[in-house]
Symmetry: C2
């Protein structure tokens, strides 16, 4: 049990949590964005990040500070908080990024952790190896050994109240990511960055990112606060939160602003291409694109950085509200339509439906069916898995229509795509109250047919009739042969005839 | 040709246009939002609508003004523009809404048009009959006769420079909507409101709304400026613009604010339910939900109305930018995931793919495949329709792989889901440059198979081999029997063997 991290609410594998950072004397609400502050460049001051954007935590780089005489002396002298003028929590990176970029750095985990401690870091980072995607398995294993050693070295340093990151590597090998997650979780360290996903995101490989994070999460305990290192584009935050990531850092807001790039939840635009500013933020409601372009380089950069941060923080608020409302999946569904690579990420997420299902709350406010993918949500898998608790006896009608008046059937259950059959008594329980479109797709019908098959499997002694409202052939062929299948129209006609012949029989009896 | 409306750019059936309003001496860029200004209630002043939100046009109700002694005298005395303090264009409604709500009004088209003219209206409205959905056909026809008479009455009034609306009614009967559209278009009037869609939107019947608008548009000429009367929720604006609507009016921003409702592009929230404000607007970045709730009723209403307007105007800017970029369909795809009813609306839009295809530009920047529905976009239908221009001769390989080196085939075409086959020379032309996810759905493969079938049909003398990369059975079964179907793997093996045997034959010749 990690007692510095408390989970307050959840949806899918995402959660609203509280990360207690003892050295800073603050509690950070997660999911949280850590703006990256470059100690050499002052795009937006940390004080403004705190007061105007509500940043509770930021991240800067201890290796850059250590390598610069002036910064090092100041940091050692007054401490990071005073140097940056920031009261929230401060995480520092260790130089691992520089190691990955330039091949070597002249520090060690023990040394850089001590330095981070000396300058007043609240959450520190050892020197791990960010293994890129697609390397040989041998290299991934070799690198992982070094990262594990860095974790052991970090455990050996007396860091007092300072929290320490235990990075999770393993490249694109899910089993290595899972093992790395388990190893990190079993250490005495505190926060768990999933590393080296930036090359995947830069290459728009969101499917691979999802697989890597899902694997790491399988190794980590549910109570582990997880940092998706280097991820801060608002487009992918909902997806990453749905996987169970809690912390994100954004250098993008400032780096992109520097070359005129404008973030949106649907992707990245270039200011030079915009004729309209598709945003409500204070910058975009005050200026036109031409007015922004007419600003001097520095002012334009600052204003774009502010826009970029507004968009990113608002998306985090949207995600938190979605977790509260239990409709995070609906938000992920929307974001999946911003780019084919995001759809890949979403479809990859659904490949891990069993993993999601274990953490997803059993009851929420509403289930909105908004795409073919909705048929493959955790709620549908859960309904199918729970068929083993539903007992059907005798001659059972499974129908999309109303209850028949005759006595041909011992029981009449409802059938609702995408879930399948259930006793009428469950009609008002989540997710069977789902709202679905009139124009339903075959994925929904096929999933309902699979539900029928599961029910039949669990109740071999009962006999079933399925009365469906014009299901497609692909769904009907998934219904077991032992089920009598009739269209709703046929059943209605037949029941009417039976009623008539009952009535005439009755008349003869008189 | 309507010379007061000029179309500058288009995507799907949506367009950016310029509506010249001679009496106001202004040109309004469309798609445009007309905030509804209630002359009795000053939520946000028209001057502020103009200066802070960029409103170029608004709408108010001439019937309410006429019925109120004080308002009538002032409007007749100083004119609407001075009375409201607004320099943009002013459209006025006629009392038709009151007629629909309360059953009768005491005015006529001739009288109210004259009154609108007298108070300085720029775009006036006759007294039409907003026929609700699902009425008997007889009633819909009867009502439509009255609306047509109102249009004739309006044509007879000398309105000078004032533009006049020609409403399109017809309830839920597509043929009546189309006929009404044609009749209105053939009149001498200027702007074309599609009426009585509010009851459909209130009941979340977006599929029916799409069918009604699509039918009206079939009757109206492409150059007709179309007003979707009573529609202003930001969630559905992209869909409505994609259908070819140009003007929208929003009373929602103020009415919703009055009872604490908070608009988003994903639907409507209640302020009381929000723990976070999921928006970047100046209100939502300045206040927390608790701070907003702590405001007095009037202030809270005003702030919520401002938020609601920011969201709505920003969505219109986003839509216009999407038209410029040629990715309006991608925006519609996203908005379709906000509610099952919006998915119905989007799927209904795709039912009208042939109608959309006629106006959709042939070339754009990018085609993003982001859902099963993407397989049914106009570009795919167009590619299939154009198979009649593609000539295939001899023995043709259609392949998802590379060009074979042997001489077994006379030609090797590419096959790309969801489009189907095309000669390699077309590879770099829109939409064949589409970006698709790795995890492709069967809709994409099945559409590609339909493309193959169309090519075969157009080229009965050629013979075809399809080399596919693991297509699903549902797609393979749509490939004509005359096509030799092999998996990419099989073809590669076979070609390698042929090359080997050719080589060995060559060796024997030496």
């Amino acid at each position: 049990m990690r007692d510095h991290f408390e989970i307050r609410d959840g949806d899918l594998a995402g959660r609203i949590g509280r990360l207690t950072v003892p050295r800073a004397g603050v509690t950070v609400e997660t999911p949280a964005l850590l703006p990256v502050v470059n100690p050499n460049i002052d795009t937006i001051s940390p004080a403004k990040l705190e007061s105007e954007f509500g940043a509770e935590i930021l991240i800067t780089n201890s290796y850059i500070i250590k390598k610069n005489d002036h910064l090092r002396e100041e940091a050692l002298d007054v401490g990071l908080h005073e140097m940056l003028d920031f009261d929230g929590a401060i995480m520092t990176d260790s130089g691992s990024f520089q190691l990955a970029e330039y091949g070597e750095i002249d520090t060690t985990t023990a040394e850089i952790l001590q330095f981070q401690h000396d300058i007043g870091t609240d959450i520190a980072t050892p020197v791990d190896i960010p293994t890129p995607p697609d390397v040989d398995r041998e290299q991934a294993e070799e690198d992982l050994k070094i990262t594990k050693q860095a974790i052991a070295d970090a455990e050996a340093v007396d860091t007092g109240e300072m929290l320490v990151n235990a990075p999770v590597q393993g490249s694109t090998y899910p089993d290595l990511r899972e093992e790395a997650g388990r190893h990190a979780y079993e250490s005495a360290l505190d926060v768990f960055p999933v590393g080296a996903v930036v090359p995947m995101m830069n290459a728009y490989r969101y499917g691979d990112m999802v697989d890597a994070v899902a694997a790491a999460k399988r190794g980590l305990g549910v109570d582990a606060p997880v940092h998706l290192f280097g991820a801060g584009h608002p487009m992918m935050l909902a997806l990453a939160v749905a996987l169970g990531c809690d912390l994100f850092d954004s250098a993008a807001y400032a780096l992109y602003a520097r070359d005129g790039r404008y973030l949106t939840v649907r992707g990245t635009e270039h200011l030079e291409d915009l004729e309209y500013l598709p945003c409500t933020c204070p910058i975009c409601t005050e200026y036109s694109p031409d007015e922004l372009r007419a600003k001097g380089e520095k002012t334009q950069e600052k204003l774009l950085a502010e826009h970029n941060l507004h968009v990113t923080f608002a998306e985090l608020r949207r995600i938190k509200q979605a977790i509260r409302d239990g409709d995070l999946m609906e938000l992920v569904e929307e974001r999946a339509r911003s780019h084919p690579a995001m759809l890949d990420g979403y479809r990859a997420l659904l490949d891990h439906v069993d993993q999601l299902e274990r953490e997803d709350p059993a009851s929420k406010g509403a289930f909105f069916y908004v795409s073919n993918e909705s048929a493959h949500r955790p709620e549908v898998a859960r309904h199918h898995a729970r068929m083993d608790r539903l007992t059907a006896e005798g001659n059972v009608l499974l129908t999309e229509g109303g209850i028949p008046s005759g006595d041909e059937f011992d029981d009449a259950w409802r059938v609702v795509p995408p879930f399948g059959p259930f006793p009428r008594a469950l009609s008002e329980t989540y997710p069977l109250t789902a709202e679905v479109p009139e124009r339903l797709d075959r994925d929904a019908y096929e999933q309902a047919a699979r539900g029928v098959a599961r029910l039949v499997e669990e109740n071999p002694d009962a006999t079933f009739t399925l009365a469906h409202g014009d299901w497609p052939e692909s769904a009907l062929s998934a219904v077991p042969d032992t089920v009598a299948v009739e269209s709703l129209e046929e059943v209605t006609e037949k029941l009417a005839e039976t009623a008539k012949s009952d009535a005439s029989t009755g008349a003869e009896d008189e």
